[in-house]
Every structure is written in C-alpha cells, then in structure tokens.
Symmetry: D2
Subunit: 338 residues, 4 copies
C-alpha cells in the first residue's frame, strides 16, 4: 500500500501516519518529493490494512493499493490453468466447450426435445432454469423442483450434464442433488450468503458476472467460493450495463483476455444475455472464442415466440447447429478445438 | 402494448401478429403508415403479454410497452403518499427524518456511544450493521447475532428504533426479532428470495437501490415486497455506478423527483454511500432534502480512522450535529420540517 | 509519480526504470517490499513525465500519478475563489445567479418576449442559441448571425447580458461581437481548437461538461482556456450519460462539491439538460443550490409545445418565476443570496 | 410516430393532439384501450415531426419514434454494402484491411521506419497523427504541417495511403492535400462544423465513435457527412466509456453486428484505444474480425517506452506482424480474406 500525503501535510501529520503503519505491524518507507510525501507500506502483519482508515487521516491525499485483494483466484499465486471437469471434457482446456438449452425449463417434453437437439448439434452440457430470477413478481418464476426432475430426465436421455441456477441458499442441497453445475446468476454475484453456500457444497459452479460488477468484483466473488476449498469455479462474462440501448447489455469482450491474464479460472461467455437479440448471438460467440474464451453458454429454444422467457435472444436448434460448426472453425484458427 | 412492423412486412406476417394477439385474448388495432404498420394491443386478458414473444416474430421491428409493469408501487393506482411509522414519526410525511449510525456494529460500547450521540443530534433512528456484505471474504463480516443484541441494548438506552441489514433469508426471524426496520442492501436489491422473505415478514423495509439498477428496477423490487401485502416499504437512493471515479458512486438526485412522481412510497437518500467521502456528505444531504427526499440515512463514527468499515465516508458526531441543523433550515426553505 | 513493479521484477528491470527516471531528470526513491518494489519519482525537470512510457517497461505493474495534471485550474495553487463579472454581479460570489432563456433563438419577437419575462422574474443573464449543435443534420440548426442580432436587441431592451454558444472557431470574432459570455457546449468540451480560440479571445466562457467527461477531464478542458491567460471561466455541470433512461441525463450533483474543492472556478448547474423534463427542473435547481452551485442556467419558453428545440425540458415563464423565488429561499438557508 | 396518452387524458386533450398532428400535415389513427389511448401518426408532410413538442402536451405519457432518424446511412434505403477504395483494395469488401502506424508522427525517420515495417507485415494503409487532440494543454500536440509532409514522404517510400486526423475545420484543405483518408477523432464525433467541412471535401473519412455515443449517434454523425454527397465514410468502433477500469475503454463488439445490420457503411475496429493496453490488442483484433469487422486500425511503435503518446497501447512491429498472420486465419475461418 502507498499513502500519498497532500502537499501541505505537516511533519506531525506524516509522523501520525507512520505511527499508525507501525501499530498495524508494517514498516514505512518515506519518499519526500518537492510537493508530495509518499509513504510506502511494506512487510507482513496479521492485522489487515484497511485503506479507508488511512485515507481518512489528516492531510492524506490518497491511498493506493498495490497487491490485488484476491489470492486464491490470482494467477500470480497459481500460474497453471484450472480445468473444471464437464462431461468427460474439461472447461479451461484446449477444447472450447458449449453449454446450451432454454432459458426456462417449461415442460418435460420441451427440455427433453431441446436436450436431444443441442446434444446432436455438439453441446457438452445442458442449461435450463427451474428457479428463475425475474424482474417482475408477476412473471413466470420457474417450475421449481419439478423442473429439476425434468432436467434429470433429460440428462438420463442424452447423457448431458445439467447446468442450472440456484437462488436460495436454503435449496443448495436440493439443487445439487439434480445439477452437475450450479449457476450463480448475475443478480446474485454479490449474494455472499449464496456464495458461501455453494463454496461449502464443493459442487462445480458457473459464476456469472454482475451487470455492473468490475472484473475485480467478479474475482472477489470467486474468492468467496474458493475460500471454502471449492476450486471448481468457472467465470462467466454475460454483458455489462452501459448507456448503449441498441443491445440488452454490452458484451465486455475485453474482460476475456483480462481475466485470462489475472486468473487461472476458466472463462465462459454468454452471448445470449450479452446481446439480448438472437441475430447477434453468432457474431458474438465467434468473437468470444477468437478472444480466448474457454466456453460458451447459449440459449436455444425451438419456438422462441412461445418461450416463457428470453424468447428474443434464443436461437432455434438449427441455427445453433450452424453456430457450433462455425465456432469449431474459429477455434481451430486460434489454435484450439471445439 | 404496441407492435411496430418493419417496413417490408407482408400482409401475412401482419396477420400472424394479429392472430397471436387474439389468441392471447386481446384486441388488435391496426394503423397502416406509408412505411410502417403499427398494431395497438388493447383489452384485458388473463394471459400476460410477453413482449419477447412478439418481438421475435417475423418482420416485427419493435414492441413498445405502454403500461408500467409495477402496480402496487405505482402512484397511478395509489395517489396518496404512503407513510411508514418510525419512532412516533412517519417517513413520507411533512417531516424529514434522519437515520444515523455506524456502518458496522463494532462493540457494545461503540454502538451505545454512537446511539447517544446521534440521538442528541436529532436522529430519528439508529443504523448499524451486524451482518456486513463485504466485497472481500477476508474483510470483517460483522458480529452477527451478538451485534443485533448490542443494537437492542442501544435502543433500550436511547429509545431509537433499529435499522439493520438482512442478507440471509433464513435469518429473517432472527433479524426481525431485534430490528425495527430491515435494510435490504444494494447488492441484494434483486435477491428475489430475500425480497419474498421480507415481504412475508410484514416488517418495515428500507430497500436500497442496486448500484446499476434503474428506477424502474427498484420499483419492481419494491413490487415483490408489496405483493405479499407488506406496504411498509421505504425506497433508498444510494448512488449508482458510472464512469466517474472522483466519488465512490454518482448520486442520482434526479431519481428523487422521478420516484416521487411514479410512486407513493417514501424516498430516503444515503449521501454516505452515494459520495463515499465524508467531506461531500453535507452538500449532498442538503441537495437531497431540497430535491424532495423524505429522509436521510447517514454513517456516523467517532473515530473514522479506526472504523472497521466505511471510515472514509463516516461523519464524526459533531459534524453530524451541524448537518442536522442545516438540514432543518433547508427543509423549512422547501416547506417541510426536520 | 510512483512506479510499482510486478512481484517477479528482476534487479536489472528495476535498474532500467531507475535509469530512465534519471535520464528524464528526476530522482528515484526505492521501497522494497516482500512482494512488490515501489519506486517514487521526485524532483523537478523540464522533461515531462509520460506515464505511458514507464507503464510499458518490462515488469512494471502500474504507474500512479500523484500530482494533478491541471495547475491553473487547481485550488491548490489558487486558493481564492475566482469570480466572473456578469451584469454588475459576480458569478462565484455569495449571490447565486441565474441565466435563463430559450434553447434556440427562434425569432426577434420570441427572444425579446422571453428576455423581458426572465428579467422580470429575476434572471441575471439571457441565454439563447443562434448556432445549434443538433444530433440530426435535418433538425433546425439555428438562425446564425441573424439570431445573434436579435439577442443583441434583446439585451438593448432588457439590459441582460447574452450567453450564447460558439461551435466554429472561425466564428469567434463574430460571436464575441454580440455575446457577453461564450458557451462551449458539452459536445465540444474536448474540441481543443475551439478551446484555444476562446482562450485567446479573453472573453468570458461558460464551459459545459461533456456528457461522458470526468470532473478531471472538465478541469483539463478549462486548463486549455486558462493557459491563454483567460481566467473568466465558469464551469457547468449539465448531467452525464449513464444507464438510467428515466431522465435524459443523470445530474452529477456530487460534482458540485467536488469541483468547489478542486478548483477556484465558479460552478454553474444546468437542470434542464441534466433532467430533460421540465417537471424535474425545479427540484434539481434547488438541489444544486443546496449543494453549493454558484449559478443556474435554465431553459425557458412560453410555448414549449411550439419550441423549435428542447420543448420537453423548457419551463414556462410563470413556472420560472416561481422557481426563482424558491431558489432564493434555499440560497438563504445555506447562507447565500439569490 | 406514436403518441401514448396518460390514463387520465380527457377527450379534449386527445383532440388537441390530433389537431396538432393534422396541423403538422399528418393523419392520426386512434386506438382506445381500457387504460391508455394510443395515437398513431402516419402520412408524409414537409413539416418535420418534433417529438418534444408532442411530449410536452397535456397528459401525453410518451412519444415513440418509429422510423430511424438517419436515412442516407440506413441499410433499409441502401441495402448494398458501400465499399470505400483504399490502396487498390476496398474497405467493406470480402477482404479485411488493416491500417497501422504510430499514434503520433514523431519524426521523419520514425514515420518512414514504421511505414516500412507495417507495409512488410501486410498493412493496407498507414496511420499517424500530425495534429493530436490531447487531454492536457501541456502534452505534445503534434508536429502539424511538418508531420503531414513526413507522412507524404512515407507514402512515397512505401506506397501506403495516409490516414490522419483533422481537428480544425479551417485546415481541411491543408490536411486533404496530404492525407488519403481524414480521420475524425472520438472527441470530435459531434463537432458538426468539422463534419460539415469533411462532408463538403468529398474526401474519404474514417469516423470514430465518441466514447459515450450510442450507435445511433454515430449513424447520425455519419449522416452529416453523407448529407453533403460524400459517401466515402468508414465507421470506427474504438471502445466506449463505462464503469470498468481494468481497460482504458470497453470494446463494444456488439456494435459490429448491430452496425452491419443497420447501415451499409464499412465498419473498422480500433483495438488499441478500445483496450488501452498492448497485451490485449491481439485478442480484440481477432474478436472484431470474427464478429464481422471490415477492417482494423492498430497503433504500432518500435519503442513504446519512448513514444510521445499512447506507448502503453502500441504494438512493436514484430508483434504486429504476428497479429496480421493470425487475423488472416480468423478471417478465413469466417469466410473472408485478409
């Protein structure tokens, strides 16, 4: 940490900061400039450095953090890529994996039909929501446990592992009984109670970035899960909220190479939510793979104009099959497989 | 709802949309322009209109919603101001109320000391967190139930009602046992499991706006609570996330008159989080009251450089007392009391 | 400036940075931590420090700027408030001044009628655009020099000084011939050719913040004008672009105390553009004054539904008169006049 | 256009809107719902519809625009792709073209050296700034006309056409004398004086998107140039400003397929500004090509740590050469050439 003093700081104020640093168990290195005095904080101590406490001291101009606040998620401490097993493959390996399925599980027939279609097209796993976080209390909220059972049936028929969302920490046992991967939705990325619950479960997790969360916030959320010894964490970029209204969200493709640099965890991209319109899903899927994404998660529905949710951004199965073929070509062009 | 067809839409495509409207139980009104055909959807039906389904039909250009998706929160259907009782006063009445206290409950002594100080300064209620949502799993997470007990003691000493955050739906009974008002934090504004839990509790709720939530999202979140028959809902603007980094968040003061127009629920402003720096808290408190806020919630700490959280944005008690005096003057200038 | 090395930086890489610092004419202070080495750059040199050059050196983690990049605009170097003369008053003094008038000068009659109305209501200056920056080339672009002449006539009739926008650096002589204050619009805040032209003119300037400019960007734009020795600069917050669509822009009221802290220049607030809807203009005007704004600039039109531009956000003269009365009360409540 | 009345609108208020529509020369189609009356505005008239005027009428809830405000830029009216000639190739054709060079022209030797290097690597055109828009008045502002002369020399040596920025409308003749393509920078995207000047020049234009401009704003800016009969317009996505600080800007890759759908103009992507860090430039270049970009514009400098501007985001020539090879592979994977 570095403490920068304001230009008018007195010797006494500087001394107070140094005393505080030493009380916290660290050493202070002083650099006196013509206008500003800079105090470097070095060493190790059991007392965590609380930047806010220093920032509020008299005539402190600013406090600059040096080391990243995440440790278990950091590539600095874990240089090798983490790979999360999925259906005999590994997310985070050479092969780009695709998770596909409807936004909501609508019926037994629907989910089995889609599961068969996405499997045939080449998907590695099946997505589908039994518990749906909806902006409106009047919208369809999902079929709950019955939906989970239909998902399990679809897995039995196709062999595809199930990725499904958990919203309620009290239901972690129920959902893990049916699901292979627990999805934490964007709106719950900083629901720390939920993160602790899935951390403890030791189940594979697909952690979606909150719509206004920074990359650093996402890594801190992952750190919650990792801090329970659960290393099966896949990060998912799904678009952020900006001023642009031409698309539902703004795909932050920059985040893909940024995350690959900062963390060892696999990075999945969700072009359906990141654009909100099915006609842009293909372009963005290819872009994400070209940028280095390890996987894709895509909404597929045979009748988007009848879908109970997210019809506007769902691909029909035949479009999805075309997409998988194109993804394969781009993956190969950047030295990977799909 | 209005469906706008693309300029090249065929008669058959238009007919399909009309058929769908009628199947859903509504009537279709056609306006044919030179370039665009517009289809108005009118009437009532038990089938909810899912905009996405229409938006995905062939040659539909866009779908425009007419009526607001919130009903119980809407001023259209409830023209009179809702007032939430607080310590013998009412939030949403002529009098501007102030809730004050530390970010975290740190010890029995600390919370009692602060409670006495803010009471003397004129606060109506005491805030303080026993369960803290922290970005980092390594930061102080709050004292839990012990913290709630200290809050209850502070209430006994001062008579101030307690406003404290609930993060875990499983703890709703525990927290409501001690708290007078349950705070839903910004990160949990769309934690629908939690909203349902506090809705059912019938306890007073202070619902903070998510940092990237629109005003409409906030009203939809309130609708979740209201839909359980719990009308004791106070909305809280606490700053939104933008590109500006000079302050922790950007205070959306516009939201105050917008909310007063759209909803009958009281509107509270939190200048501490909205600015992130104590030196701006006074200016923004006065601004919010001038703009029509019904209340303020402000972080106060006697030793900000020792605070376990949010020291940078906490006022010392004497500054808080000055602030209350100034708030009173501005409140009177706009025809209110404080 | 501080250079933070990555944890793996070699002694040779650190030495390269130090050599570079010395070549640039500065001294390097080294703080070696367990994980990170920090190099403080101190001293004075004619060679400007280009952060990017250091940031791109091997194993440099980040470069942190210490001193603000603006000097003439900075309160550190000019602690006393700058006051800009306006109609016998001073913007930046105890008295809160109001500039009012239509978005566009539409006709001789219109501008004289409005000038009389706003003068009677208590405005200090008249605004009105003769050159209009319009998003669409097909929208009304202003009456040009004829509009300026009508403004001059309105000044003759009412005595109100004229605030009008300049878009073309080639027209600086023409516009300064008629105008008392040159307005630089939000879209031109970083039109450096224009900033240099008005800087050289030595004319009073109202510099509007760009809709995605930070407070720092705004101060750097002011620095361009100030660097020509022109100190008659008024800054104007007019709302920033965010994800919120309930209002045209988001009023950044935080920017008012932030600017008052960082700079000695007067700060004006424009509630008309900052909200985009006339019904919120009063609330935001009062909020801005409560937060410490030195002045307001407000759009007024007798027939908003006939206005050639910005009708949606224009107050009728009688509403404006009410507003001025209320502004006066709030100004007094915060120890000022209006 | 559609006018939606509030639920309480009276018959008289509805009649006023209809009268106004008819006065403006259009026909009104009425759809009366249970809660809302919707008025469709159809037909043609020489009087442009000013939405704001209707929005401000009594009990109007909202006004919805139907047709896009841009015409010459719209694919609806010009379905075929526009191709802009560049060095014997065409931007907007099957072949993905790359423009490369330094941020600033620093010296005769520098620009010739880089021109040779990027030519050898496969670039189609040379970029380099002689007039630099800098946030600070104290930063290097470019070598001006001398820089243009060095660019012309570099063209003579390599045959590469020149892309360079114009900031001052008064210099349009000077810059077009040397440049093959005039670049309009992000900060000047809504400098309408400048857009009119380059429109009239009939010179090829590379129009960069403003950092807080929507896709629609960009198309309206292009419309200014096109309205002068100048159809040689290339659009350039260069990142937008968001809350994320891990990168300099956020690449809006969504904008690529959105623009290809809405307009016939070619779309270029600038990964250097869109990320701000050279290590992410390759990933984003490949992503943009996979998403359908017609071209790339990339900053290249042999000694980034000596660059007078943008060193942090500049590729060394050998990295650029590798990038061109990879771009070719991805282009082929999506059915194009490079």
């Amino acid at each position: 940490m570095i403490v920068v003093m304001k230009s008018g700081a007195s010797a006494k104020q500087i001394a107070s900061v140094i005393t505080r640093i030493e009380e916290d168990g660290y050493a202070a290195h002083l650099s006196e400039g013509d206008h500003h005095t800079i105090i470097g904080v070095v060493g190790e101590s059991p007392t965590p450095l609380v930047e806010d406490n220093y920032a509020t001291m008299d005539n402190v101009d600013k406090v600059v953090r040096i080391s990243e606040p995440y440790k278990l998620a950091s590539r600095t401490f874990h240089p090798l890529d983490t790979q999360v097993p999925l259906n005999g493959c590994k997310m985070g390996s050479e092969k780009v994996l695709t998770i596909a399925g409807p936004c909501s599980v609508e019926s037994r027939e629907q989910i089995i039909e889609i599961a068969c279609a996405v499997k045939e097209a080449g998907a590695t796993a099946l997505r589908g929501g039994a518990f749906k976080p909806r902006t409106s209390p009047y919208s369809f909220q999902g079929h709950g446990e019955e939906g989970l059972k239909w998902l399990a049936e679809a897995r039995e028929v196709t062999g595809l592992p199930i990725v499904t969302e958990l919203m309620d920490p009290a239901l972690v046992d129920m959902v893990t009984e049916y699901a292979d991967v627990i999805q934490i939705g964007a709106r719950n990325m900083q629901n720390f109670t939920l993160l602790n619950a899935v951390g403890k479960s030791q189940h594979s997790v697909l952690l979606k970035r909150g719509m206004s969360s920074t990359v650093k916030d996402l890594l801190m959320a992952a750190e919650y899960v990792l801090s329970h010894g659960n290393t099966r964490v896949m990060l998912c970029e799904r678009g952020i909220r900006t001023f642009e209204t031409a698309t539902r969200n703004t795909s932050d493709i920059n985040a893909i190479p940024v995350l690959k640099q900062l963390t060892h965890l696999p990075v999945v991209f969700d072009p359906s939510h990141a654009t909100g319109k099915w006609e842009y899903v293909e372009s963005l899927s290819l872009a994400a793979v070209a940028a280095g994404a390890d996987g894709l998660i895509i909404e597929v529905h045979p009748e988007p104009d009848k879908a109970m949710s997210d019809g506007r951004q769902s691909l029909k199965p035949e479009k999805f099959a075309e997409l998988v073929t194109k993804v394969r070509r781009v993956a190969e062009a950047v030295g990977r497989k799909a």
